[in-house]
Amino acid sequence: METPHFDHLTSQDYEHVYEPAEDSFLLLDALEADLPFLNGLQPRLCVEIGSGSGIIITALSKQLANTSLCLATDINPKACDATRRTARHNGGRVDSVNCNLADVLRKRLVDVLLFNPPYVVTSDDELQCQMFGPGSAGESNLSTERNLVYSWAGGKDGRRVTDTLIQQLDDILSPLGVLYLLLLRENKPNEIIKRLDSLRFKAVKFMERRIPGEYLYILKVTRLPS
């Protein structure tokens, strides 16, 4: 799987949008390693939540050219725009929707879900203040700092957003759907695996990697056979 070009994104973009880094590349590597599974799954709808620069969903869209519909969501309008540009720049086909998680999608239709969540452990107060501070949704009200904060601030255990997504997962994934979720050791992956099991999902540590200052995992999550 080719890493998409992102030389069209500038330092100005990275003031608002998360710059591809080791975590992004780990998710790309995991998808590449799991291509035999993905090819067998023949996904029709692939969605990345919080697509940021858009390199991951663009890479997948190139890989699945003309055989799958690829959508990207992000709460940050600048990220939606960056994703759209990255897809175009690389000849991928990705539609961007500016929304929270997968809130706007009809239920149980997503075959491949990708999520590199805001995973950094921060105080909840900080997260609340950043996310629901003065002003409300809408580009004009979102300060630069708040846009970027969405991309990394994870609240307690770095899990606030991840926990919300997991709670909604049954409504999002199609019967054969799969989620690839990036986690940090501090997010307590084993706790998340147990939580998923109680919600009738099978989660395995599909890939892991030590990078300077962080230890990262990719969880692969599918439904338990009923």
Partner: protein, 124 residues
């Protein structure tokens, strides 16, 4: 926003909204993007699509004469219809327009091809 994407969008995240689908689509500016036709993919995607929203999109895109109002039982051998569906779903990119919640009338603008479906805190 492609009209295939449109088929998956709902406003059910709004407090009190039951279905929120199909959203009422308005197109004020669109672009045609030629893409490779893969009849197998169009056919495989159909079970995930809501035909009434496919037909609704065709009406808004002024392609209603291409698309039957009721989904045909089988279109696997109907290459002509598959081609028309491909054009409708994958080649029309809505650049400017809006989506409207069918239950509350809440408007979601589409700007530069991106629907803004963010909700305010008091709407969820």
């Amino acid at each position: 926003m492609k009209l295939s994407t449109y088929n998956f969008l709902t406003s059910m995240a709004i407090k009190g909204v039951k279905v929120g689908f199909p959203l009422k689509l308005t197109i004020s500016k669109k672009e045609l993007v030629e893409t490779e036709f893969n009849p197998t993919f169009v056919e495989r995607l159909l079970p995930k699509l809501d035909w009434s929203a496919v037909y609704g999109a065709a009406q808004v895109a002024e392609l209603a004469e291409d698309i039957p109002a009721v989904q045909p039982e089988s279109i696997v051998d109907n290459e002509q219809l598959l081609q028309k569906l491909h054009h409708l779903l994958f080649e029309i990119d809505v650049l400017e327009g809006q989506l409207e919640c069918p239950e509350t009338g809440r408007i979601f603008p589409i700007t530069d091809g991106i629907p803004n479906m963010l909700l305010n805190e008091d709407e969820v």
